[in-house]
Amino acid sequence: MAKTPVTFTLNGQSKSAFADPGQNLLDFLRRGVGDLTPKFGCGQGTCGACTVTIDGETRLSCLVLAETVYGREVGTAAGLADGAALDPLQTVFMEHFAAQCGYCTPGMLVSARALLDRNPRPSREEVIEAISGNLCRCTGYEPIITAILAVAEGRARA
């Protein structure tokens, strides 16, 4: 079966790989490109563990046909830290115990980063709305919400 060459940008770096027919972006990123940060939870759009950004907007990579990202910018949790320097969101997630098993964390971080890039000082309601497409089975959400708000407030002070 013919494979489709896909050239795109992943976290600022140009990448090329072959997509299988009908392959979703999640599988393509994990197996074709080797970025293991987006997770497979359901493959149905319900859990958000596979959340990535495409041209800055959050998408569920399990529901994106891989070849449609040709020429576009994909962002994953792997792009958050700059070498050893963590994104402030990653630091507060640790400080506030916002990750327990960690399975939802990459998707949560991508959704939270997209929110803060668009709206640096969100209200609590806006934070809840922004992560409403991301399920967490461990934390009960409160630590995650607190962590995201902590970054927002940190920025406001800075």
Partner: protein, 266 residues
């Protein structure tokens, strides 16, 4: 195995459609089927721009087939549809889900389609000049062909349009049911009442009982009560994991009453 065919225009895509093909819109439902291995053998997609166009002409807005719920929310011209787009899925779904795809979404989905039905929107098919009522497309979705755009009349009085989605989980739960009501008034009386339910049948459907009860009346307690008691006349809602048919029938009138009371107070 799914084969993907890519075309530069919707017209070319339309010619490639057939029994074993599915058109790829935002993909929120089609890719689910692909992942589950139950998708048709061919996926048809279009790369050309233009499908995401939103254009206002006179008192209607033309919504291109590729316009997403997030695009609707970003448009001031579509403010009357914001309460509808806002409650469809979560943020990621809204960035992907198209308005055209919503017309074809299986029960319990189709909240946006219910709003389009109440607003008497018209559907422009690929390669077609004319437009058909959205109800025609909903009546026989399998044979509807490809949708190029949807033309939505803008309510002259935005307060005449109301929408309510009822779900167990908030935000982001799927519908127990949704209700869209368009009640334009002339001299205080409702003229041309349109009330549509989502998730109360195999596809979004109008409530002829509620419409009859409201037509020619002023929107007040008496009209609202009779609309609520006639709401489910002729409707035969499905049972699913969200709610039973019995439950849906029991609560539909109650929620219609809440929506209409809210509209009365605006």
């Amino acid at each position: 195995m799914t084969v993907v065919e890519t075309y530069p225009t919707l017209d070319q895509a339309a010619r490639a459609m057939g029994g074993d093909a599915a058109f790829l819109g935002g993909g929120t439902l089609v890719m689910r089927a692909v992942n589950e291995g139950v998708a048709p053998a061919r996926l048809i997609r279009v790369t050309g721009p233009g499908l995401s166009e939103l254009r206002v002409s006179g008192d209607s807005v033309r919504i291109g087939a590729g316009v997403t719920m997030a695009d609707v929310l970003a448009s001031r011209d579509l403010e009357f549809l914001h309460p509808v787009a806002r409650v469809i899925g979560g943020p990621q779904v809204r960035n992907m889900a198209t308005v055209a795809g919503n017309l074809f979404a299986a029960h319990p989905f189709g909240d946006f389609a219910a709003a389009l039905l109440a607003l008497d929107a018209r559907v422009i098919g690929a390669g077609q000049g004319g437009a058909r009522p959205v109800a025609d497309v909903l009546r026989d979705r399998a044979r509807a062909g490809l949708v190029a755009a949807i033309e939505v009349p803008r309510p002259r009085d935005p307060k005449a349009f109301g929408f309510l989605k009822v779900s167990r989980v908030k935000p982001r739960g799927v519908s127990i049911l949704s209700i869209a009501a368009y009640l334009p008034r002339e001299g205080g009386r409702i003229r041309g009442a349109r009330v549509a339910f989502g998730a109360m049948g195999p596809v979004p459907l109008r409530s002829s009982g509620a419409e009859r009860a409201l037509e020619g009346q002023s929107l007040g307690a008496a009209a609202i009560d009779s609309a609520a008691s006639a709401a489910t006349e002729g409707l035969d809602p499905p049972t699913d994991e969200i709610a039973s048919a019995w439950y849906r029938k029991e609560v539909a009138g109650v929620h219609l009453k809440r929506l209409l009371t809210d509209m009365e107070r605006r």
